[in-house]
């Protein structure tokens, strides 16, 4: 009964959040100077944004609860993982937006509407995904089946999140590299954002494993699969890095994030393949 109430609570707050975000987007696009000039309407987008941010925080716990409830179908697990990664990226975009707005206001510059609109649209997209997840939870009879798994889910989730994070990061790095955007190392912190979802899952796993003997952190098959994945990563890392030089472009700082994302993709992907196929 408790879980059904939580799902309905999430559904109501998600709908309100969606409406709030659309109001904010409409207001700042209709009255662009709203955020910089003192205005009686200023309070509305601020309140709407904070409500959406609060919903975003609560939805992260909802996603973690969905993991712990051991959703029966694999499609749900993958879907929740994608939403989780998008959630972290959305948080980071909010931070960038607020920093940029603060700088613009401090120096009396006009703020860039795109800088404000895009993070809000990402939040809208994220909220829609949460609503779709809630709909799937409410319509599936078996979705609330709970059964115990010995850390298997977290292990699998870590690899999938690592794979997704690596692919997203690699796409960003390659898009900059192939367009020969000047890189003075300023993009390196931005690339690190894509490690955050993976880091959170690993940290969560370490927290629940902390009190156990290190030899029992994974079972023998998982150890074997991880070692095989490590060997595969070692072998492929050298030709993988060599691929960068085929493009005959100055690599500058790009080689480092490219190499790290490549390793993350290969290690997570191969661990997943070995774990599931053997």
């Amino acid at each position: 009964m408790k879980k059904v109430v939580n799902v309905y609570f999430m559904m109501i707050t998600a709908v309100i959040t969606l409406a709030a975000l659309l109001i904010v987007i409409y207001l700042i696009n209709t009255f662009p100077n709203m955020l910089v000039e003192k205005n009686s309407l200023q309070l509305i987008p601020v309140l709407c944004y904070f409500f959406a941010f609060g919903f975003h925080i609560i939805s992260v716990f909802f996603l973690i609860q969905s993991f712990k409830n051991q959703l029966k179908y694999r499609k749900f697990k993958i879907f929740v993982l994608v939403i989780f990664v998008l959630s972290v990226i959305s948080f980071m975009m909010d931070k960038v937006m607020i920093d940029e707005l603060a700088d613009d206001m401090r120096y009396g510059l006009e703020y860039d509407l795109i800088m404000v609109t895009i993070p809000l649209l990402v939040k809208v997209f994220y909220t829609v995904l949460i609503l779709i997840l809630i709909f799937l939870l409410l319509t599936d009879k078996n979705v609330l089946n709970i059964f115990e798994k010995k850390d298997e889910t977290i292990f699998t989730i870590a690899q999938i999140v690592g794979l997704i994070s690596g692919i997203l990061g690699m796409i960003l790095v390659l898009s900059h590299f192939l367009r020969s955007l000047p890189n003075h190392g300023s993009w390196l912190p931005a690339y690190s954002i894509f490690f955050i979802p993976y880091g959170i899952i690993i940290a969560y796993w370490l927290v629940i494993k902390f009190k156990e003997n290190i030899l029992e952190w994974v079972d023998e098959k998982q150890w074997k699969d991880v070692l095989r994945a490590a060997l595969t990563t070692l072998i492929l890392s050298i030709p993988g890095l060599g691929l960068m030089f085929i493009f005959n472009k100055p690599t500058e700082y790009y080689w480092f994030p490219y190499f790290v994302f490549f390793i993350l993709i290969v290690f997570s992907g191969s661990t997943l393949v070995f774990y599931k196929s053997t």
Partner: protein, 68 residues
């Protein structure tokens, strides 16, 4: 030569136990039990002995070599 096993049959004989329940009982993941039953993963001596003890059988009754 290939290592075969009777884990699946013994699991069903023990009240149609699920792979997850067996995995919990011997301290491994469900995927490990699944891989052992499919013959894709050979357990360590330690795990084989734990499985034998759980089913109250000898290791030789659970695992045997077959000519491929």
């Amino acid at each position: 030569m290939k290592l075969e096993n009777t884990i699946r049959r013994n699991r069903f004989d023990k009240g149609e136990m699920s792979q997850q329940e067996l995995a919990n009982a011997v301290g491994v993941t469900k995927q490990t039990i699944h891989s052992i039953e499919k013959g894709k993963f050979n357990p360590s001596t330690f795990l084989a002995l734990k499985l034998a003890k759980f089913f109250d059988k000898t290791v030789e009754e659970l695992f045997y070599l077959s000519n491929d």
